[in-house]
Symmetry: C2
Subunit: 337 residues, 2 copies
Amino acid sequence: MVRLKDIAERVGVSVMTVSRVLRESPDISEKTRARVLAAAKELGYVPDATARGLRTGKTRLWGLVVPGIDEPAGAALASSVEAKAFAEKFELFIADSRGDPEKEREAVYRILSRRVEGIVLAPAGGAETLQSVCNLVGKQPIHLAVVSAEIPDPRPGAAFVEIVFDDAMEALARRLHTLGHQRLGILKTGAWMAEPLAAAARRAAEAAGLAAREETAKEMRPEPAEIARAAERLCLREPKCSALLAVDDLAALQAGTALERQGLKVSKGVSVASCGGTVWTEFAKPALSAIRIPWREAADEAAGLLRAMLEEEAKPSLRRIRAEFIERESLGAPSTG
Amino acid sequence: MVRLKDIAERVGVSVMTVSRVLRESPDISEKTRARVLAAAKELGYVPDATARGLRTGKTRLWGLVVPGIDEPAGAALASSVEAKAFAEKFELFIADSRGDPEKEREAVYRILSRRVEGIVLAPAGGAETLQSVCNLVGKQPIHLAVVSAEIPDPRPGAAFVEIVFDDAMEALARRLHTLGHQRLGILKTGAWMAEPLAAAARRAAEAAGLAAREETAKEMRPEPAEIARAAERLCLREPKCSALLAVDDLAALQAGTALERQGLKVSKGVSVASCGGTVWTEFAKPALSAIRIPWREAADEAAGLLRAMLEEEAKPSLRRIRAEFIERESLGAPSTG
DNA sequence: TTGTAAGCGTTATCAT
DNA sequence: ATGATAACGCTTACAA
């Protein structure tokens, strides 16, 4: 590995001179600059950002911890944060908690030990387990931005980006009610934010005068057959639901397919909606995605907060971002009878 | 930030003693061990892996560079490599080249400057631009594992995981021929590995006695309307293709939808196939995914190679992984006439 | 314009 | 069983 010292010896100057040249400091004669640059190139010098960080105290490192980086939502988050990091000349650690709070804790700890300047966290657990991670990070002189639908009260010392589902869910429930639906089936999985989504759906259904039933598949990405069974329990068994809301697009896609196999026709007879908002789902099956979740906006906001906190002494803040209801073809009137 | 020194002063021992306790070295009296541990906990000590890495020369850091981390294939890769890294107690940098060889070069350089011990690269460009990145990395004392369908010849000094499409494509082409198809439309996008996939499809079509036509959308993830136009050009304009192969599932999904809107029925009349093999696409639309690309296997292999290279002095190796043809419902006989 | 000395937090090595 | 010293590669502070 080539060090400054190697270049210095080669050129016959001090290490400091080389360091200055490479950092483009002024006060360097054109002659030495050229010779140093040439030697650096010739030797294939790659600066050691690790050593620089140790000396300066600035590592230009960020960390991101998500539950499920290969889930559409997690991938959207990763993409947004990575883009910001790259543009700002930060390197980004990514760790996947896989929905496990224990793994999340370990990931955060390990990332802390790398002396990152900030962490974006998409929490795996609920508000309780989040507290403990916030405490851990709070003791370190770094910044934390949490993207979540459940904000602990009182708020720990971190920047929060809260994703709010209520307005969108209420709009959806009202729309379904207007179309003539009386009972909403909620299909929950172990996907990120599934529980807050389901809770918002329940609240909205009640407010709109819809009865609601819920079926749960615990895995983050359940077997298609399991989703099919849940969908059938909701829409084929008494009391039958004429409308189905799945907490994510892929589950909705499966559920819709399953119901059509059973002879129900989506949009006529049974309405199917889902919560989505990633490049992938928007692209693949926009018809179902009635609740658009602003994953990218949330991630951009979180990354923006980290960057902002670098400069100003930003106080722990709370930023709300709202999901929105989008009218889709998969929503229709219930079959009569 | 708490340092070993702080603990040492607190307990009244030397820094080395503290270091030893924290690294669980033997030859430490139970008494001091307990006191050091207590102080470390009390002060909220988090070790500085950066400084450790500087001193030991072992950073336990890996890097991953992909084109499109929010694409199904990129996300699958990230997930696999992250899992291996986490299990092996490595931290993982992730950078997204977004299909741009220039960005890829910068990402690799920046990751090198973090003194990672290994890099997994999913190259953005073809074999030519890959060479230059391999040269850059080759000068450093670290390991490189490349996941690609195009291996440069002669092979640069790196471990290669080659994804091979030919067998699967040939099986697909033969099947289509048997079903009575005479002309295959190939729908290419700017997705990762699109060009090698299309090339393999062309070769396979020719070998099976199918004529082939190709339409290209340059973006990695083109507008649905653009895909629809391309699909229509292939299947509605003379010489009409009775079978369509898209280089990725999402494009196929869009294409299928577009063709059905035009009155063609997928699996009767027009056959639609795609190249997939990620959790998302398998889950959402298995019907279309006739070429299963072993993304995860490839990523696991690449991560495994990195790990192996840590221990033994592994030579630059080449490992082939084959895509497989899977019979799907979306394949049927062409409409007669 | 260039050089010298010291130190960032840790561990290898040798000493006690 | 514990401590002292130096060094990893770099940059800040000061001197020449």
